[in-house]
Symmetry: C2
Subunit: 339 residues, 2 copies
């Protein structure tokens, strides 16, 4: 492995100059810069990140903490963050909390403290006060994605608005008997996510002068599976069943679509169904939904961090809290059956 010393010798300059020329910090004449660049290229020199980190105190690495990996939303956020980090020459180190409490603890008490990262992105995390403390104690730039953390800047869509959008769409189509399929309020650890979406539904209904009876509210836990079961309950009894279902996520909506089909119903002729997310499967199932853009959220989180890490280099001002969302109308919604 060629070292900075080799490059210096090859280019006929001091190590300090090589460092300056390659990093862009400090003034170097154009000619020297070129000579150094050529020497580095020739020798295949790439600065050792540990030496550089130790000397400068910057690691060019960002940590991302997630509660799961194998869900569409999380991997999309990670992908977006990674892409943007790479553009800035940063690496991404992954901390997955998982379900094991011991490993969870060690993330906060060991891994994040090793001075390996310059900043941290926390994705949709539900943390104890102490864990939030640990994050703040790092004294490093910190940004949350997808869920508010005590005293942490967070990128989050307005869940109430989002649920209102799909509900409003159905109301506009003429539906009056609309049911809501969402996360349970009992274990709404996820930052009031369940509550916000449900409130968005209820408010949009009220705004239209409508009211959903209690039995039209069904709980499921964001999987196709539980969405399927809940929807079967909802649609099983032909008398007084809803003509539309607002689901709190695409997975639950897909479950509802499949449940309707299994009951011999045709979507959207017999029942309209909406989701939230624009999940990768949403298009296949022709689901009307509200897209949020997790990849963009990951990218944006990185941009915010870069603003802290390299002040004055931002290319453009960044949007604040209201992240973009978009109602995507597909084939799963239509006017209610005329009976």
């Amino acid at each position: 492995m060629a070292s900075i010393k080799d490059v210096a010798r090859e280019a006929g300059v001091s190590e300090a100059t090589v460092s300056r020329a390659l990093s862009g910090n400090g003034h170097v004449s154009a000619a020297t810069r070129r000579r150094v660049a050529e020497a580095a290229q020739m020798l295949g020199y790439v600065a050792s990140s540990s030496a550089s980190s130790l000397a400068s105190g910057r690691t060019r690495n960002v940590g991302i903490v997630v509660p799961f990996l194998d869900r569409w939303y999380f991997s999309a956020v990670i992908e977006g963050a990674q892409q943007e980090l790479m553009r800035h020459g940063y690496d991404l180190t992954l901390y997955n909390l998982g379900q094991d409490p011991a490993s969870r603890r060690s993330v906060f008490e060991q891994f994040l403290l090793r001075q390996r990262v310059d900043a941290v992105i926390a994705v949709a995390l539900e943390l104890t006060d102490q864990e939030v403390q640990s994050l703040h104690a790092l004294h490093k730039p910190l940004v949350g994605v997808g869920g508010p953390l005590e005293g942490v800047r967070t990128l989050s869509i307005d869940n109430q608005v989002v649920a209102g959008l799909t509900t409003g769409h159905l109301v506009a189509l003429g539906h009056t008997r609309i049911a809501y399929l969402g996360g349970s309020l009992e274990d709404d650890g996820a930052f009031g996510l369940n509550l916000s979406r449900r409130l968005g539904f209820t408010h949009a209904m009220e705004a239209a002068g409508l009211h959903a009876p209690t039995r039209y509210y069904r709980a499921a836990d964001y999987t196709i599976d539980t969405g399927y079961s809940a929807a079967k309950q909802l649609l099983g009894d032909p008398a007084g069943r809803p003509t539309a279902i607002v689901a709190g996520s695409d997975e639950m909506a897909i479950g509802a679509v499949l449940a309707a089909r299994d009951l011999g119903m045709v979507v959207p002729r017999d029942v309209s169904i909406t989701g939230i997310d624009d999940h990768e499967l949403a298009a296949f199932f022709g689901l009307t939904t509200v897209a949020q853009f997790p990849r963009g959220q990951g990218r944006l989180a990185v941009r915010l961090l870069m603003e802290d890490l390299h002040p004055g280099e931002q290319e453009d001002e960044l949007p604040g809290h209201g992240l973009p969302v978009e109602l995507i109308v597909r084939g799963s919604t239509a006017r209610p059956p005329q009976d």
Copy 2:
């Protein structure tokens, strides 16, 4: 941030002793070790990874290179690897090749060369010769998961065997008109994955004295979407249609299940369908499939690396090439219709 010097002072020993006590390298008396541990605990000391890396040449970090993130298989492998790495006190840095050629190049020419990782895991990568060269040029332990790389140890299931398993299952049920739905042979970049699975099917058929006509071979590209279309073609014509479909992946199989339903067929009464993977959705669709265990593959990859990185510490011998697979029989397969 407390440094090793602070701990040394607090514990009344030299820095070297602190290092030895905390890292476990070198002999330290039990009493000293305890004192050092207490001092470290008290001061909240965690060794700086860059300083430690620079001095020791070891980073306690492993790089994982993947072509995508947002697919079930990859995130599962990553999750498994991450878990196991954490057990060993290692971090995981993520390199996603993505579709942009420039970023792809910089992974091999910049990022991996920064001495940030002790070893590399390459997941289902299709690399150019030059890229493989770059990996070898790192002179670091290297292991592939899910696809052979020139001169790299690789963990891979036997795709031919796997396809043979599902085919054999259908044959045993009495099916004779069996179709194959798999990746196209034209762009079989994925290490002959498409070819191997198809061969597994063909051989199992031959072994049973059966033969599938050319029109029973249909190409799709591992998505629900394309599986759906291909299956519709296969099942659309009631005359001479197959009684069973062997799909080369669960996604394609799920597409086939949905296509059959849309054609008014009942699975498995009218047609049996099998997949490969045991994807997270397989259980919901009642899919008979062959499970491979990507999480376990990620874990195993790490174990192999740890054997190189810390020789003589392995807890148990590791299995070699034949990774475990298991035929999972669910409701999507049954005896063929009696006509």
